[in-house]
Subunit: 162 residues, 2 copies
């Protein structure tokens, strides 16, 4: 299974025909500072388990944990930085089956991987298609935090000559 | 179908037994400023269609649009502020079937609604269960931006007496 890391990718656009089922992209890392975790929570997910240690102790988690939405947002950042589609923008048609296996905590260093599961030409638009990927986010201990399935809109090479 | 708005809800905890299929929560509103849209994009989704008008013109969208991940994060904020579960934290077990129907743009005012689709006691843990909800996010023109399905972990009343 070919695994590509960030520094091998350029900003050259990649098309549907450039991928095959089984291709895996591994991202670099992103460390969650306490400030980032609190700042995201204050803006988007102001709940006791995300805002301060004292309030978090009385929750299901028993300690301060980051918002799952921030884990998802950082996963996007990791895959953008890894140039998942080279110079082609990453546009989601659908995100599915997001499962939260373990919480992200301040200080965690996250990495993600994305594996091509299926490639489907569009029935109505010959200039594009869909690429289904399994995306996994782990912390540096190797614990899986989130798994999800992405369906991306990817241009086909025929789009170039249109 | 009973529709509850924010100001009727208190911080009193709500339990699995307090909900029924068909219950709908309507949130308040949240206006996306250009600064918020750009700041989120710079941190979490630095792609041409999210970073500036000139680069966005050459993308699939043809104009500056917000990150779909930010629309999802703001939807969470709206439902936290609406006290979806009263004083009980909103904890996701799974988020599914997120479909992006239309992009969010700077200046858009977002609202969300959440409808109870199913209530399932946990087989292994009598102190909790799962509540499945259909969550819809619209702009002020009434255009649906995102639909998704949530499976939340909700404590049952038996948890109180344990």
């Amino acid at each position: 299974m070919p695994v590509t890391t960030t520094n091998e990718r350029t900003a050259t656009p990649r098309y549907l025909e450039d991928f095959k089922v089984g291709d895996v992209t591994q991202t670099g890392e992103f460390t969650m500072t306490r400030d980032m975790v609190l700042s995201f929570a204050e803006q988007y997910d102001p709940q006791p388990m995300h805002l301060d240690e004292a309030s978090a102790r009385d929750t299901l988690f028993g300690r301060l944990v980051g918002s799952g939405w921030q884990t998802l947002a950082v996963t996007m950042r990791l895959l953008v930085d890894a140039r998942l589609l080279g110079g082609t923008p990453i546009v989601g048609a659908e995100f599915k089956d997001m499962r939260f296996h373990a919480p992200m905590c301040p200080g965690d260093t996250l990495r993600a991987s994305a594996e091509v599961i299926a490639i489907r030409p569009s029935k109505s638009r010959p200039d594009r298609g869909f690429m289904d990927m399994k995306v996994t986010t782990k912390n540096s201990a190797g614990t899986t935090l989130v798994t999800q399935s992405w369906s991306l809109v990817v241009p086909s090479r025929s789009a170039v000559s249109l």
